[in-house]
Structure formats: C-alpha cells, structure tokens
C-alpha cells in the first residue's frame, strides 16, 4: 500500500532529538518528528507554589502543554484550552510511572511542552521531548518514556499518521511506552477499531518505540559526553 509521503506502513517520519537546548532550564529537549516540532523544558525539583498543592510523601509532577499561535495554518488562540488541558493531563500520567517522585517529598517538578510546529502527533512528540528533558535535568527515573501514534488504513496497520492519513484512518491510537519495563503508560484512541485488529496496531507502535529509545539515548550522550563538549 502506498502512503502520501512514500513511507512504508511501519515507518515513522524522520526523527531528530536534541537534548539541552535551553540554557535556563534544568533540563530541556527538542524533538522533530517530520514537520512536527516540540520543545520541552524541565524545572525542578523545586519548592511547590502554591503551598496547598504540596504532597507530603512525594514530589508533584506538573505538566503544561501549549501550542504556539503560529504552529498551524489557522492561528491557535493563545492560552489554555480544553484540548491542551487534556493533553497536559495524559502527558503527566504517561511520565509519572517512570519517575522516582518519592525521592523529593513536598517538592514539585514542572514540565513545559511547547509545540512550535504542528503536523499530527504533537502529544507523542511532546512526551518524547519531555522524557529526554527529565533525564537531562538529572531527575531519577526508572526508564525513559517513548511515544508514537498508530492507525489502520485499508486493513494495514499504519505507523505515525501524518497529513491526510488522520482523516482516512479507522482509528488514531497514540501510545506511550517504557521500553525497559515493557509497560504502556498512555493509550488513547480516536475512531473505532475491531478488538481483533487492535493488538496488531499496538504492536506496530511498540516496535518502533525501541528505535525512538535509541535516539533518545544518543541525544543524551551527545549532550553530556559528546565530541563537541
């Protein structure tokens, strides 16, 4: 089957990951997945404000997801929206299982995800960036979190939907996956799919997560012990 941009069904768009792109943040990362560009900044662990949100037993993880006004063809209205609040929530829940939050009781860790250019798969790009940024910040983690979306067109599982594919697919299924623990930390679905076909779509996504994992590791290595340093 032929795809719009000539990719194979189980091929993701070109992925570029760069760690440590922001000077002021404790940790940061830039992820480009095809045209989609996400940047993540991590601050903390630091004191929790406002105080009443403090949790006595572990750190508070706070995620923010924002699309730049210029990130799409139509201008995105600045500020929080229903959509950004939801994505921030699922991002937090995708990242939380990978962190040793209990090591910093009462403190908070903040993750800011900014979408500079949006062309499908912004939440997955955001999670990939956030995971690298958290590691870059030196926050204790069980594993890195990788993320990618998959779908199904003409009875074929399709990886990393882009452009028109989002309209043609039976379902759009973004997942986040911890490659070492082999655990899924995020799974959402738009559209509809038969139960017997679901497994196939998930497996397609998980398979490529290993590749993303390697890219994330490379990016961190380049940043901390690379030749340019």
């Amino acid at each position: 089957m032929k795809r719009e941009d000539g990719r194979k069904p189980d091929e993701m768009r070109p992925l570029v990951i760069k760690a440590g792109v922001l000077k002021e943040a404790n940790g940061s990362a830039l992820v480009k997945l095809g045209k989609t560009t996400a940047i993540a900044a991590v601050y903390g662990p630091r004191e929790t404000h406002p105080r009443h949100l403090t949790r006595p037993d572990k750190a508070l993880l706070r995620c923010y997801y924002n699309m730049a006004p210029f990130s799409t063809n139509d201008r995105v209205r600045p500020g929080r929206s229903r959509r950004s609040t939801e994505i921030a929530k699922v991002t937090r829940e995708a990242l939380e299982p990978a962190l040793f939050l209990e090591e910093f009781p009462k403190a908070s860790i903040e993750v800011f995800i900014e979408i500079l250019q949006a062309d499908a798969g912004t939440r997955t790009a955001g999670i990939n960036a956030a995971s690298v940024a958290l590691a870059d910040a030196g926050i204790p983690m069980r594993d890195l979190v990788t993320s990618i979306a998959a779908g199904r067109i003409d009875k074929t599982p399709i990886l990393d939907l882009a452009g028109k594919e989002e309209e043609e697919t039976e379902c759009d299924l973004p997942i986040a996956y911890m490659p070492r623990e082999k655990k899924i930390t995020l799974m959402q679905m738009d559209g509809d799919i038969a139960q017997k076909n679901l497994r196939e779509v998930i497996d397609t996504a998980i398979k490529v997560c290993e590749q993303i994992y390697e890219k994330q590791k490379e990016a961190l290595k380049e940043r901390w012990v690379g030749e340019g340093k």
Binding site: G27, K106, A135, D136, G138, I139, L144, L220
Partner: protein, 272 residues
C-alpha cells in the same frame, strides 16, 4: 564529596577480578536512566542506581563507577540534595521569630535557628537583622536533614562565615566534587595560581574574592572544569591553562576582603 571523587578516579584495573561477572558496563561508561549496568546478584546498587529483579539499573544520566561490589552512577546533572555536614552557601531570604530562612539552591529552603548563631539574640527586641539581614550571603554547615525534608543550617562551626563583598558564581551542583578535587587539590590549585580567594559550597554556589581580572580567570577555570568534568587529567590541564594565563594571576596577596570593599552583599553571577 571526597569519596565520590575517589570512585571516579579509580583505575579500571580494579574490576578484573572474577566477581566482575555480570557487569555489563565498563567503568566510566555513560549511562541514561533505565540502562542495565549489572545482571547478577554479585553487586549492590549504590548511588543513583536501583535494583529490579536480578539486575541493577541507572537512575540518572551519569558515569558508571565500580567500587568493590558496589556499582553507582556519578550524576552529570542534578539539583542540590542536602546532606548533613555539607558546607553550603546560602542567601538569607526571610527573618522569622525562630531564626533565618536561608535559600540554599535546593528543592527545600533551610532554617538557621536562633540557637545556631553563637551569640544571644532577642527576637522581641527586633535585633535579628543586625546579625544577618535579608540578602546576606552565608557560608554555613547543614546541621540536620529530617525525612520530612526539614533542613537546618548552623553557623556554629569554625569554617562558617558571612560574606562581605566578592562575587557569587553558580555552577551545576553535580560538578562541585570535581571543582573541589581530591582533598581540595583542584580548588587549592585555582586559589594558588590565580590568587583569587575561593570558597565552594556543596550546593553549587562558589564565592570569589579578588581583583576583576583574577576573578575572571578563576571563573574561566571553573567553567572549564564544569564542562569537561568527565574527562581524564583535568587537574593538569587546568594547571597548564592557568600557567599560560599567568600574567593576570598575581600571588595571593590581596587577602583583606572586608577592607578593600565596604560590606555589601556579593553581586550574583548569572548561571551560564
């Protein structure tokens, strides 16, 4: 801090014993969170590592260090996590009835209780600001860290002081052991070769006192260490670098900080 550095310097020759079985990473190899370092029960997880099943994994980005049967990762980036008896540099941010609140660049602020200043202070008479005022920079000892992360600092130590003048430099706290060096070798060399009076807190704040060119040279040296901390033979290279720039480095004669500049809070250097 010394033992951390000691681990880093240990020659790889050490783990050629038969017990090295199950060790998947080499000494000084780079690891990211979740990397498997050991695949056997022969080893124990040390700093920045955790055990899951039979294996030991890294918790943070770092460099592998094997010390006997203990494997640990030397973190490359981290925030300051206070430990009892650390010497830190902090800024007074608030005056309370029971003491001073000190910002020590950690996730938690510290309290300097009235009982820990070595002289009688009567908060009712409002003379606390006379001792330490908001904005003052202190070199103090972490006297207590509770599990609830209440942190107390103390000025009842010979090494503690309040800074007058000078400059504060902010560095990555994970690199402080390298900047200090084994038994202070690195920082003493910087002091000797630049003539800049230097005090490093474990929390990544460094106080510098000296003339401008001398300070700048010391800052350049510290930044270089911060950047290249994972490389070998750093002490020698920094030594050479300072010798080359020797023109600016005058012998450590300018040792009258309080007199040359009137008492004022040190200006802060932006984090780079």
């Amino acid at each position: 801090m010394e033992e951390k550095d000691a681990g880093e310097k240990k020659a790889p020759a050490k783990e050629e014993k038969p017990q090295a079985k199950g060790l998947l990473k080499k000494e000084r190899e780079f690891v990211v969170p979740g990397d498997k370092i050991v695949d056997s029960m022969e080893f124990l997880p040390g700093k920045n590592c955790f055990r899951d099943g039979n294996s030991i994994y890294a918790k943070k980005i770092g460099i592998v260090s094997v010390n006997g049967r203990v494997v640990s990762a030397i973190a490359l980036n981290s925030v300051y996590d206070p430990k009892t008896d650390d010497m830190v540099i902090g800024e007074v941010t608030e005056i309370r009835d029971n003491g001073w609140v000190v910002d020590i660049k950690s996730p938690y602020h510290a309290l300097l209780p009235l009982s820990q200043v070595g002289e009688y202070v009567d908060p009712a008479r409002g003379d606390m600001a006379r001792i330490y005022n908001i904005g003052d920079m202190l070199y103090c000892r972490v006297s207590q860290v509770t599990t609830a992360k209440r942190i107390d600092v103390s000025m009842l130590d010979r090494r503690t002081r309040k800074f007058h003048g000078g400059r504060i430099l902010e560095v990555n706290p994970a690199k402080v052991p390298r900047i200090i060096g084994k038994l202070g070798s690195m920082i003493n060399m910087i002091k000797d070769k630049t003539g800049c009076i230097t005090i490093a807190g474990q929390n990544g704040l460094i106080w510098l006192m000296g003339e401008k060119p001398v300070q700048d040279l010391a800052i350049k040296a510290i930044r270089t260490i911060e950047k290249e901390s994972h490389k070998d033979g750093l002490t020698n290279r920094i030594g050479e670098m300072l010798d080359k720039a020797g023109g600016a480095g005058k012998p450590a004669a300018k040792a009258e900080p309080a007199k040359t500049e009137p008492a004022k809070a040190p200006e802060k250097e932006e984090k780079k």
